[in-house]
Symmetry: D3
Subunit: 243 residues, 6 copies
C-alpha cells in the first residue's frame, strides 16, 4: 500500500514526465519540461565567444542560469533583482552547469559558449533535476544549430538525466513532489549519464542523518528512475540523437 501524495509506488514510478519542443522563443534550443506539476522552460543559446579566462585556449564553455518566475509559487516569488542571486539559486545553477559539462567535449565545441537558461514556470519539487533533464535536450538542439560545427568530433559524449530521491517515514521514495520533499529526512539528487555512470550524487540530511544502508537504497532507486528518463529523452530526440 502506498502512502504517497498521488498514490505512486515508492521506488519505481516517476511523476508524468513530458518534454515539449514546440515553445515560443528566439534561442535555438527550447523545451518545456514537466514532471507532474513542476514546469520549466529550458532555452539554450550559443555565443561566439567564451569567458575571459578561457580565451585563446581553443575550448568552449557550457554554463547554466536558474531562475524561478514570480508566478511559479504561491505566494508570489520575488525576483532576484537585489543584485545578489540567492544562495540556493546559485548552488542550483552551478550544479546544472557542471552536470551538462560532464558530457560535453569542450575542445570539440570550439570557442563558443552555450548558456542553458532554466526558468521555472511552476515549482512542485524536483526543479533542479528536471532542469538538468530538460536542459540536456535544449543544449543538444542548440549545439545542432551551429552551422559550421564538426559533428564527427563528437561534442556530446553521452546523454544526461537527473532525479531526486529521498527518505520519508523511513522509506526510499523516487521523484519527490514538494509536499513529500518538505517531510523528507534525507534528500538526494542524482545525475547520471545514459550509459549508467554517475555525474553527481548530493545527499543531505535535513536536520537528520542517514545510514550506509539508506545511502545504498537511495542510489538504487535513483538509478531506476534515471533509466526511465533516459528512454524518454532518446524518444524525444529521435533521429536527432546521437548528435
Amino acid at each position: 500500500m502506498s502512502s504517497r501524495t498521488d498514490g505512486r509506488e515508492n521506488s519505481r514510478t516517476l511523476r508524468p514526465f513530458k518534454i515539449n519542443r514546440d515553445v515560443p522563443g528566439a534561442a535555438p534550443g527550447r523545451v518545456l519540461v514537466q514532471a507532474g506539476r513542476t514546469s520549466i522552460l529550458c532555452t539554450a543559446s550559443v555565443e561566439a565567444s567564451v569567458p575571459p579566462w578561457l580565451e585563446g585556449k581553443g575550448k568552449g564553455w557550457v554554463t547554466a542560469e536558474y531562475n524561478m518566475l514570480p508566478g511559479s509559487t504561491s505566494p508570489r516569488k520575488r525576483r532576484d533583482r537585489s543584485g545578489k542571486i540567492d544562495g540556493r539559486s546559485s548552488e542550483i545553477q552551478r550544479l546544472i552547469g557542471r552536470s551538462l559539462r560532464a558530457v560535453v567535449d569542450l575542445a570539440a565545441l570550439g570557442e563558443r559558449m552555450i548558456t542553458v537558461d532554466c526558468d521555472v514556470l511552476e515549482a512542485d519539487g524536483g526543479t533542479r533535476t528536471a532542469s538538468i533533464t530538460g536542459g540536456f535536450i535544449a543544449m543538444v538542439e542548440a549545439i545542432r544549430s551551429i552551422e559550421d560545427l564538426d559533428r564527427s568530433a563528437k561534442p556530446i559524449a553521452d546523454s544526461i538525466a537527473a532525479v531526486s530521491v529521498g527518505i520519508v517515514d523511513g522509506a526510499a521514495l523516487l521523484d519527490l513532489d514538494y509536499s513529500e520533499d518538505v517531510r523528507a529526512d534525507v534528500d538526494m539528487n542524482v545525475v547520471m549519464t545514459g550509459s549508467g555512470q554517475f555525474v553527481e550524487v548530493q545527499g543531505s540530511g535535513e536536520e537528520a542523518t542517514f545510514s550506509h544502508d539508506q545511502l545504498l537504497a537511495l542510489i538504487e532507486v535513483a538509478q531506476l528512475g534515471i533509466g526511465q528518463l533516459t528512454e524518454l529523452q532518446h524518444a524525444t530526440l529521435g533521429d536527432a540523437w546521437p548528435l
Copy 2:
C-alpha cells in the same frame, strides 16, 4: 499595395493575436498572449498586504513587473541581476502598472496588492502593449480568485487594451513588428479602455519630429486596433466579464 513585412494593410490589420489561459503556474491569474511572434507570459498574484505608504488607508494597489527572458532574443538577453533594472524595463513596468490602475477602483479592492508579472518569452515588437492587453486578463482572473471580495463594489470599472502605432516611410502603421519598429520615425503607444477613453498616449520622434496631422492620424489608427483587441479580450473572458 502594402509595403509591410508580412503584407498586412497599413492601418487596419493587427498581427494574429492569441490569448491562451491554459498555462502552467501557481499564480491565480495566468495567460500567454501572442501578437505575431511576440509572446508574453502574464501572471497575476494577490497578496493580503499593501506597500508601506498605503497601509491603513483601506485601499489596494496594482503594480506590474516587466522582464525579458534570456531566450526571448537572439543574441541572448542578459538577466537583470546587476541590482539595477535597466531604464527601459523600469519605464515599461511603470506604464503597465499605471495603465492597469486606471480601470481599477483601489478602494473597492480593499487592502490587497495585485502584482502583474509580464515575462517576455519572445520579443518581436510591441511587448509593452501586449503586456497591458494580456495583463488585463490575468488581473481579472486574479481578482476573481479573491474569495471574500465584494463584486458589487465593481473593483474593475472597464476593460483596457493597448497597441503600438508608428510612422514608417511617411505612412501611419498599426501594430509594428520589430523590423518595422526599427525603421519607424515616430513611435507611439496608446492605451484605451473598452469604452473608448484614453489612458495613455506616448508618442516619440526617434531622432525625428512629427506634425499635428501625423499625430491625429496615429491616434486614429490606434483607436481602430484597440477596438479589435477589446473584442478579443471580451470573447476570451466570456461569462467572466464584466466581473
Copy 3:
C-alpha cells in the same frame, strides 16, 4: 475668473520663466532655469569619446542625467546612492536625452558625447519640461565651445522646448505647479521644436481617463506655451543662435 494657485489664466500664461547663463561651474554649458519656484541647474559637458556601441561609426551622442538635490524638497529628498536610480528619475532622464537628440545631427557632431546634467535646486512641478527647455541652452553653449567643430554642417537643426499641461477640475491648464499637478486628472508633457513640430507627447490619466476632445485641447494649450518659451530661448541666446 481663474481658479489657479497664483491667479494665472488657465491656458495662456506661463509661470515667470528665467534663464540665467551666469552660474559657477567648470562645464562649458551652464544655465540656471527657473519656472516660478522650480529651479534647475543645467550643465553640459563634452567628452571626446562615445559609448562603446557607437565607437567607430563617426557619430556622436547626446545623453542626459536628471537628479533632485536633497534641499530641493521639504522634507529632504534622499540621494540616489543606493546603486539603483529610481524609476521616475530614469524615465525623466531618458525623456530629456531623447528630446535633445531629436534636434541634433549626430553625424555632424562627430565622435563626441554631450552629457546634459539637470540638477534640481527647487522642485515645484514641471521639472522635466524645464530641464528640456534649459538643457537645450546648455547644450548649445557646450557645442559652441568645441573648437574644431564644423558649424557649416549644422549640428543643431532646430531649437527645442517643453511644457506640462493637465486637466484639473475639467479645465485644460498650462504649466502646472506642484499643487495643481497633484490635483490633475490628466497630466501631459509636450516637447516641440522652434518650428512647431512635435518631438514627444506623453499624456497619462492618473487613475482616470480622458476623451479625444480633451486630448486635442491639451495639445493646443501646450502649443501656445511652447511658442512663448521658444521666444525666450532665442532672446537668451541672441547672436549665439542659430549656431
Copy 4:
C-alpha cells in the same frame, strides 16, 4: 615676492570668500559659499526623527553629505550612482559632520536630525573646508527655523570655520587652490571654533614627510586664516548670531 598662482601673500591672504544666503531651494538653511572659483551649495534640512541607534535618548543628531556635481570639474565628474560612495567623499562628509557636531549641544537640539548637504558646483581646491565654513551658516539657519526650539538652552555653543594650508616649495601657504594643492608636499585641513579652539587637525604628507617646525608653522598660518573667516561668518549672520 609671491610665487602663488594669483599673486597672494603666502600666509596671510585668503582667496575672495563670499557667502550668499539668497539661493533657491526648499530646505530651511541655504547658502552658496565661494572661495575663489570653488563654489558650494550648502543646504540644511530638519527632520523630526533621529537615526535608530539614537531613538529615545532625548538627543538630536547632525550629519552631512558631500557630493560633487558633474559640471563641477572638467572633464565631467561621474555621479556616485554605483551604490558605493567613493572613499574620498565618504571621508569628507564624515569630517564635515564631526566638525559641525563639535559645536552643537545635541541634547539641547532635542530628538531632531539636521542634515547638511554640501553639493559642489565648481571645484578649485578647498572644497571640504569651504563646506564646513558654509555648512555652519546653513545649519544655523536651519536650527533657527525650528519653531518650538528652546533657544535659551543654547543649542549651538560656538561658531566654526575651516581652512586648508600646505607646504609648497618649502613655504607654508594659506588656502590652496587646486593648482597649488597638486604641487603641495604636505596638505593640512584645520577646523577651529570662533573662540580659537581646535576641532580637527588633519595633516598628511603626500609621498613626503614633514618636520615638527613645519607642523607648527602650518598651524599658525591656519589660525590666521580661520580668524578672517570667522569675522566673515559673523558679519553674514548679523543679528542672527549668536543664536
Copy 5:
C-alpha cells in the same frame, strides 16, 4: 608505492591535523584548524535573537559564513566586497551551516543564533571540510559559554567531522591537497557524525563520470578518515565533551 604529493598512503593517512584553541578574538568560540598547510580560523558567536522567519517559535538557529582572506592564496584573493558573495563561497557556507545543524537540537538551544565564521588563512585544499571539523569545536565552545543554557536538554546530539576524498589516476585518495584536487576526476566531500551516520555526501565528476564501484570505494575511504578526525576532536575537547 605511493604517488602522492607528500608520500602519504592513498586511503588511510590524513595530512597532519591540528586544532589550536588558544587564538585571539572576542567571540566565545575560537579555534585555528590546520590540515597540512590549509589553515582556518573558526570563531563562533552567540546572539540573543533569531532570523525573522524563526521569531516566536521557541527555536534557535545555527548558521555559517565562509570567507577566504586575501593572503590565503597566491596570487592574492580579492575580497567579496562587490555586494555579491561568489557562488562557490555561498555553496560552501550553506554546506557548513546545514552540517552543523544536523547535530544540534534547535529547540534545546532556545531563541538564540550561533554564527560560525570560517576565515581561511591559507588554502591548500579541503577548506570546506576542515571548516566543518573545526567549526564544530568552535560551536561547542560557544554553546558552552551560554550562561543560562539547560545542558540537560542536550543541545548537541553528536559530534560531526568532514573530509574530502577523490579519484586521482584511478585511485581513491583520502584528504586531497590542492595539487591533488586539481588533478582529480571525481571529488567528494563527506560529512559524518561521531557515531558513524552520514550527514552529507557530495560527489561530483569534474568533466568526468564515475562508476558505482568507485562511489562505494570513495565512501569507504571517507569513513576511515572521519573516524580519525572524530578521535582528534574528542581528545581536543577533553572534559568539555559530551556537552
Copy 6:
C-alpha cells in the same frame, strides 16, 4: 598615581606590543601584531601590474585594505558584504595606504602593486595605528621577496610606525585601549618615520574641542611612543633592515 585601565603611566608606556612573523598564509609578507588585546593579521602581496591610471608610467603602487573579522568584537561584527564598505573602514584603509606610500620610492619599486591586508582578529582600540606599524613589516617582507628587484635603488626610504594618543579627563594618554578611547575628549593618530619626521597627524575633538597647548602635548606623547615602536620594528626585522 595612574588612573588608566591597566595601571600604565599616562604618557610613557605602551601596551605590550608583539610582532609575530611565523603565521600561516600564502602571501610573501605576513605578521601578526598585537598591542595589548588588539590583534591584527597583516599580509602583503605583490602583483606584477598596477592600477589602470598608473599603467606605463614605470612606477609602482602600494595600497591597503582594512577589515574587521566577525569574531573580533562582541557582539559579532557583520561582514562588509553589502557592496559598500563602511565609511570608517574606507577612511582607515586610505590612511594606511597613504602612510606606507610616504616611505616607498614608487619609481624604484617598478610597475608592481603591493597590497597590504590588515584583518583584525581582536579589536581593543588602536587598530588603525597597529595596522600601520605591522603593515610596514609585512610590506618589507613582501618587497624583499621580489626576486629581480634592484635593492640599490632603495625602494623603502625609512621605517614607519604609528600610535594613537588622546585626552582623557584632561590628561594626555599614550596608546589608548578601547575603554579609554570611548571616554576620550580628543583622539589623535600620529604616523612618523624612524628618523622622526611626521607622515600623518589626525586629531579630532569628539563633540569637544582642544587648545594649542593640548595639541602640542599630544604630539609630544606620540613622539615618545613611536620611538619605542620603531625600536621594536628594527629588532624584529634584524638583518632584514635596512632593506
